[in-house]
């Protein structure tokens, strides 16, 4: 389990160490989506585009 901080709201995210490259991780507090990336053995989160629904009134 790797501990990574959400870039948006600073919540600590637990990313399973077997998370695969490109897997989507969502922050429970603010809903920001991240893509799992691995650089020199460390797990990093790259912001992933997320489609926001809206009421559109």
């Amino acid at each position: 389990m790797a501990k990574v901080r959400c870039l948006e709201c600073d919540r600590e995210l637990n990313v399973p160490s077997d998370a695969i490259e490109g897997e989507i991780v969502t922050c429970p507090d603010c809903g920001a989506n991240y893509e799992v990336a691995r650089s020199n053995g460390r797990i990093e989160l790259r912001p992933a585009e997320s489609v926001g629904e809206d009421w559109g009134e």
């Binding site: 948006e8 709201c9 600073d10 603010c30 809903g31 997320s50 926001g52 629904e53 009421w55």
Partner: protein
């Protein structure tokens, strides 16, 4: 003083026939550390509580008794006073002198400055010395003082809802303290149980009705508490609106930023203050339908949901907060304060899931 040995607190409720009194009973009849000793009502003395609050049938067979200060003083450890402004002031004073602990839900002991009572209530406070003994009943702001308090004065429903959104901004010196605008929307149960032409169904239904757009009483409390947090005089402009729901408050708190900031910094400011608070939930979601606080998702619970956004162009921050006016806005806060006063787990009897949809 904590009731450590599992003993139940003997509790009295004065003015238990109204909506706030009924909501207090709703929480107290299932509270594991409370014994309901006395429940008073002038109008319904002798009647079973469930005849006035049918939803409580099966939970208690206690009857209303007349207001008897001596009996309240001798039979109760703690008394909740839920009578209108102007009536509570005498009852609380006499109970205070008897040494019984009090959680007052009226406005009579909320303000420290008697002048504010003259300006906002057109009323001369008869016991100004008691004002300094009273602790303002928002545990998130005054937990330590509440622990040992003999008199706790619960906040106005829109005041607590607005303050919980504004507090982190004041504490982190982020906003201009002279141009705060609180635009609040509240349900009909906020007007209490007494019928009037304004609450007559055909005329109350479907309104978006601004009322007391200036000099609303809750403004005094918001200014008082914000000034304490900011360490200087803060002025707040509040305008409430009655809307077409029964329970629920949404406060839209507009404030102008003193310096530029970021969403990340706001998250740190709010999380810094509320990380360990069981009843404040931070709602700012980047996806999904429900991005901001909405009373629809707190009704029936003691939560105050808080969120925020930045309007860069206008250098403005919109801090949003949603609560149930009868819960975090009244009875929920009162029971939360009791839990603090008696050393109970602060969520005891209050970890209620909101009722959605309703």
């Amino acid at each position: 003083m904590s009731v450590g040995d599992g003993r139940r607190v003997k509790v009295g409720v004065v003015g238990a026939s109204g909506y706030v009194g009924g909501e207090l009973l709703r929480l107290l009849v299932t509270h594991p550390r409370v014994e309901l000793a006395m429940v008073t009502s002038r109008q319904y003395a002798g009647e079973y509580v469930h005849r006035v609050h049918p939803s409580l049938r099966g939970f208690t067979e206690i009857t209303f008794s007349p207001v008897d200060i001596d009996r309240l003083g001798s039979e109760c450890d703690l008394v909740f006073t839920a009578v209108p402004h102007g009536k509570a002031v005498e009852i609380v004073k006499r109970l205070y002198d008897k040494g019984v602990r009090i959680v007052d839900l009226s406005a009579d002991y909320r303000l420290k400055d008697q002048e504010a009572y003259k300006y906002y209530y057109g009323w001369e406070h008869p016991y100004p010395d008691l004002l300094s003994k009273s602790v303002y009943g928002i545990p998130e702001l005054h937990r330590d003082e509440i622990r040992s308090a003999r008199l706790v004065s619960c906040p106005g429903c829109m005041a607590v809802t607005s303050l919980l959104a504004l507090a982190p901004l004041a504490k982190n010196d982020l906003i201009d303290l002279d141009h705060i605008v609180v635009d609040s929307k509240i349900g009909s149960s906020g007007a209490g149980g007494k019928p009037s032409s304004g609450t007559h169904h055909a005329m109350r239904y479907g309104v978006v009705r601004p009322y007391k757009p200036v000099k609303h009483r809750h403004t005094a409390e918001i200014e008082q508490e914000m000034s304490i947090m900011a360490g200087r005089k803060v002025s707040v402009s509040m305008t409430p609106h009655a809307v077409n729901i029964v329970r629920g408050i949404l406060c839209t708190n507009h404030a102008f930023l003193k310096r530029s900031t970021s969403i990340q910094e706001l998250w740190r400011a709010y999380r810094g203050m509320y990380r360990n608070e069981p009843f404040v939930r931070l709602i700012r979601d980047t996806k999904g339908l429900y991005k901001y606080p909405d009373p629809k998702f707190v009704v029936g619970s003691n939560f105050c949901d808080v969120g925020f956004d930045i309007d860069e162009k206008n250098n403005r921050i919109v801090a949003l907060s949603a609560s149930d006016n009868l819960m975090k806005g009244a009875a929920g806060s009162a029971v939360q304060c009791m839990n603090v006063m008696y050393g109970f787990n602060e969520v005891e009897g209050l970890l209620i899931t909101p009722l959605t949809p309703v």
